[in-house]
Amino acid sequence: MDGEVQLQIREVSKHFGGVQALLRVSVEVRKGEILSVIGPNGAGKTTLINCVNGVFHPEEGRILLNGTDITRLPPPKIAALGIARTFQNIALFRGMTVLDNLMLGRHIHMKNGVFRSVLYWGPGRREEVRHRQVVEDIIDFLEIEALRKRVVASLPYGLQKRVELGRALALHPRVLLLDEPMGGMNIEEKEDMARFILDVNDEWGTTIVLIEHDMGVVMDISQRVVVLDLGSKIAEGTPKEVKTNPQVVKAYLGAKAAAP
């Protein structure tokens, strides 16, 4: 199932002081796939995502989106090119409503300047309406109609995570980076989230890179899995291949899984 490569991570290295966070990691993400990145704590998963969306710049190696080098671009530029992400610890404006947070997610697509935007009539209004339509589609998609006017801080954790996914989707990304979208959720919330991720992938063909700890979820929804350990890639393949890879079992799943 070789598809067109959309995101290419080539030999990327990054260290913080004496800690080698990533060591010549290469990953090819194919268009329209769900790729999971797994690995024990401190394996460099989040660093990898941070490098892709420009939070960090790697010391070595290159990152290409559809063949264009994005290695040195700042995060807003990368977002404008169609890479959106969510964060392990939710990054929303907690004092604002769900609707406003989602509308903010559209700002990169807003063309009008300050002067046009503050006028109620004309292009400013037309633009607002257009973006509101996009946001309403997302609200419908994520089934958060009841939350539009709710302030984010007042929502339970699982729903905040869902809103954050919505905020990322509002960008209409081509590639979506999800950093532990199910961390801290109960089974039911996880199932909902897994379904939404599959639906996003299904409906809009969005390429998804997923960092997740819940092995059940990873094995269920991803087409391919990349395993990191201590900053290096130790395996890559279908969930089944990875699950049976002895190195992975040793590094990640630990002694418990290795036992009969």
Partner: protein, 638 residues
């Protein structure tokens, strides 16, 4: 030509007022509207699409969906094609869905979304009679390649092309419909055993709508909310037959979670809710008042009792002194008006409660606010309501007078019997049950009642639910439970005490309100079970129980109570889908707990199995504290 069937009424509206709004649904944040002409178009396409697929006269169409225009179009389409429609409770478990769909011999099923489609596909081996599953919302279904599946859009397109080829087919099919055709099969949730399919004819549905329309003078274009399960007769009589016969405009909320918001935006003239929803509204108000400014709190606390006193006197036929009348008038103008507006009840001309008894406190609360809340009474077998309060004569404790054209009498044993055009045509494929419910041409309700000296019907608790303590003292559990449920912190309660020395109560806390209460007091909790077992929560509920006790005769006061570790849930078969407690079942299931309530133990261990909607099961193990009223709780060893 006089209309006899619902599709015939639809044709009339589409002819006489084609551009008036017929139905709305809020979608993407905006109320979308369909006119009567558009309503007819959709029904026509679905009808002809179904006919193309092989739907014949007398066939059945099942629908599983939240309240959406498509549900009502589907039901009418099945009728237009000469068959009957039936809605299935959308939150029913796969097992229940399987039983109803199979028993009804439904040839086609319309399912709202992937969730419902999955439920049906899982059951496919048991659903041999189903020829197509038609889905409405395609989200997530793009990769389903099952030949049994088809989208509603495709079905409508099929019907559209059929309409072009045979333009008279639809009108002919509708014209062939007769009043005595079965229009709807309503599966009753039933407090015991398998659900039974009550067959309602067009004549039943039309008569019921015309009767209430005549009494209440509903006007075409009056707004109703469609938010109760379409499988329940209480929704159908307004959102389907009421709308089609009387020309009401139906409004479907965006999602089940936004009903309250929808009500506020629409401001319906007619609102029908089961007691639970009215009880929840009371709780919402009480909690909101707690959170509001001191002035508002003060006003509310001063004025509400006055308002309640005034309407109580009114309803009991006592004179209302002038100062009280004045105070009520002022309160309605300056305080309750705003409150009603907040709740979306400002324009309500007729508000109804039915399906079960509502406590007098709830009743007085809304009437004091100026909401014309009235009681209706009836059964699924009498096309829903068959008896209601007249505006000028609303009395506490009664359910009003029979609909015009309907006879209600009390037999020698005190049982309420019905006769007239609202009485159903029998249970589908169940002649024994049909024979059992009729006696000499009268339908037996199973409820006990009497007429008071105002000629108003009074329904005594379900006859079988009135019971007595060990010493013979009679008590009605429902009466006590309703009083408990008036508390914003109590969601559900079951009073027990049959052949026991005293009354005890098992209580479900209201997670939302108790949760907020706990947060305000900085009491940390994790789950429902954890919250329910907090000593502070026991104190809180204890105060509520004591408040209820003050209104009860000494002998039937609640002596002991316990907070359950989980909510009584229809998925666990503990309450019906319309939220009536299945007493016998609960009593059996919780037998050890009930036993403990009548012993000296202060802690009772429980293990209970929870069934999720998808059929999976999980086990909870915990200990529940038992408290006696007035007793200082003993320290619990850890």
């Amino acid at each position: 030509m006089a209309e006899a069937t619902l599709p015939q009424f639809l044709l009339r509206h589409a002819r006489t007022r084609p551009n008036d709004p017929a139905i709305r649904e809020k979608e993407k944040g905006i109320w979308q509207e369909w006119t009567w002409k558009e309503y007819l178009d959709h029904v026509r396409w679905i009808t002809l699409g179904l006919v193309r697929l092989g739907f014949e006269r007398g066939d059945k169409l099942a629908l599983i969906s939240d309240n959406r225009p498509e549900v009502y179009w589907g039901l009418v389409a099945a009728q237009a094609a000469g068959g009957s429609g039936l809605a299935v409770y959308q939150d029913a478990s796969a097992k229940e869905v399987g039983y109803v769909v199979d028993h009804s011999d439904a040839k086609f099923v319309i399912a709202e979304d992937q969730e419902q489609v999955d439920k049906l596909l899982e059951l496919r081996s048991a659903l041999g009679k189903v020829q197509k599953i038609i889905f409405d919302d395609p989200k997530g279904l793009a990769h389903y390649k099952d030949p049994l599946l088809m989208s509603l859009r495709e079905l409508e397109q099929l019907g559209e092309s059929s309409a072009r080829e045979e333009p008279r087919l639809f009108d002919e099919a509708v014209a062939a419909g007769r009043a005595e055709d079965v229009a709807l099969i309503c599966y009753t949730s039933g407090t015991t055993g398998f659900p039974k399919g009550a067959m309602l004819t067009h004549a039943n549905l039309v008569a019921a709508a015309e009767a209430i329309g005549e009494v209440e003078r509903f006007r075409p274009g009056d707004q109703v909310m469609a938010y109760l399960p379409p499988a329940w007769i209480g929704d159908v009589i307004f959102s389907l037959s009421g709308a089609l016969v009387l020309g009401l405009t139906v409004n479907c909320p965006e999602s089940p979670a936004t009903v309250q918001e929808g009500v506020r935006e629409i401001g319906p003239q007619i609102l029908f809710s089961p007691p639970r929803i009215w009880e929840n509204l009371v709780s919402t108000v009480q909690v909101k008042i707690e959170d509001s400014t001191p002035l508002k709190r003060w006003l509310y606390r001063r004025l509400m009792p006055l308002g309640v006193e005034a309407v109580r006197r009114e309803m009991e036929g006592e004179p209302v002194p002038l100062p009280l009348r004045l105070a009520t008038w002022l309160a309605r103008a300056f305080v309750f008006g705003a409150l009603r507006d907040q709740l979306g009840l400002r324009r309500v001309r007729c508000a109804y409660t039915g399906g079960a008894a509502v406590g007098p406190e709830v009743y007085l609360f809304f009437r004091a606010m100026g909401v014309n809340l009235k009681q209706v009474y009836g059964l699924t077998e009498t096309t829903g309501a068959a008896c209601l309060h007249r505006n000028e004569d609303v009395r506490l404790g009664t359910v009003g007078r029979p609909y015009p054209g309907t006879e209600i009498k009390i037999d020698e044993s005190g049982e309420i019997l019905f006769r007239g055009p609202l009485v159903f045509a029998g249970y589908y494929k169940n002649p024994e049950a049909t024979a059992e419910i009729f006696r000499d041409g009268w339908l037996q309700s199973g409820d006990a009642g009497f007429y008071d000296n105002n000629d108003q019907l009074v329904v005594i608790d379900r006859a079988k639910d009135v019971t007595s303590l060990l010493d013979g003292t009679k008590f009605a559990p429902q009466y006590i439970e309703n009083k408990l449920k008036f508390s914003p912190y109590i969601k559900e309660a079951m009073a027990v005490g049959q052949d026991r020395p005293y009354v005890a109560a098992m209580i479900n806390i209201d997670m939302e309100n108790v949760g907020k209460w706990a947060e305000r007091r900085q009491i940390g909790y994790t789950t429902y079970t954890d919250l329910a077992q907090k000593p502070q929560v026991y104190d809180l509920i204890g105060r509520e129980v004591e408040r209820v006790n003050r209104d009860l005769p000494e002998s039937t006061r609640i002596r002991k109570y316990l907070l359950l570790h989980k909510e009584l849930d229809p998925d666990d078969e503990e309450v019906t889908r319309t939220r009536k407690i299945r007493r016998k079942f609960v009593a059996q299931k919780y037998a050890p707990i009930i036993e403990a309530l009548f012993s000296d133990t202060a802690l009772v261990p429980v293990t209970s199995v929870i069934t999720y909607q998808d059929g999976r099961q999980a086990t909870i193990q915990t200990e529940l504290a038992i408290r006696a009223i007035g007793e200082v709780p003993e320290p619990v060893a850890v």
